[in-house]
Symmetry: C2
């Protein structure tokens, strides 16, 4: 599995919204998760670092939760952007989402040593609220299932108290 | 809030199980979450790093999910250890748990700039399966609620395929 997301929604987030530790391209210390379309599904691919362990040899659950989280907000952004007539790379600023809730079921220990792939299906449950279901694979093994409820970022979020 | 967990269960995990990126004391790159008792509740305290951002000024949700995850497994370990007649620091090896499922509701943007505190309540739902409910506070503000289903680590988990 040597796939790569070619056109990622995170590449198009406005600079002010590109500092996320999970998926912000401007956060030098972060994971740089990148999410794009694969047909009608969304996809995020990531190679965990050797230190991202639960036990030696297995991926840390918190890293998988982080992966699902940003896959969720990225997928929702892709879907609303498409609904608005846009695709990644077409110059329009995509909508930015935040996570209202995150759920992960860890189905199997996830081997650390190759890329993880999250495959998402996106459903609009309200114009500003989207549900993303995700399956996380290591090679061909389904290791985790996730659900993210993502909401369009409130304007108040960008202002710190 | 300058509290510190004095006796943490993670300090007592056997060396083989102390490599978790979230809470393993031997993982030099990890977060080193530490969980102890505070009366009948469990407590984990953590100072996010400046780079752990969602947007500048706010803590990354995946970091909060990681915090809840290890708080959950640590809390379950504390509870079963106590049921077995042990407290952290008394020389007995504590049981090690893994996460079966993780749920986080993000209630408010979490300001980054001070410690986070998770307060847990633990419930046995099966001798090998415990539920941990967590509230995550930044100062006095409840920012997130979490639920972890933790199960005693299967013996197969420690062996990589």
């Amino acid at each position: 599995m040597e796939e790569k997301v070619v056109k990622a929604i995170q590449d198009d987030y406005p600079d002010d919204f590109a500092w996320c530790y999970g998926c912000g391209r401007l956060n030098e210390s972060g994971h740089h998760f990148r999410t794009g379309w694969e047909g009608e599904n969304t996809v995020t691919i990531f190679n965990p670092e050797p230190e991202h362990t639960a036990l030696p040899g297995f991926v840390y659950g918190g890293l998988i939760a982080s992966f699902v989280d940003c896959h969720g907000t990225g997928s929702a952004s892709l879907a609303l952007h498409r609904k608005n007539g846009h695709e990644p790379g077409d110059e329009a600023d995509p909508p930015r989402f935040v996570t209202a809730s995150l759920h992960v079921d860890f189905l199997k220990p996830t081997p650390n040593g190759g890329p993880l792939k999250a495959i998402g299906t996106v459903e609009e449950i309200h114009p500003k609220k989207w549900k993303v279901n995700a399956e996380v694979y290591a090679e061909d093994t389904l290791c985790a299932r996730g659900e993210v409820i993502a909401v369009v970022m409130p304007s108040t979020f960008a202002k710190k108290d």
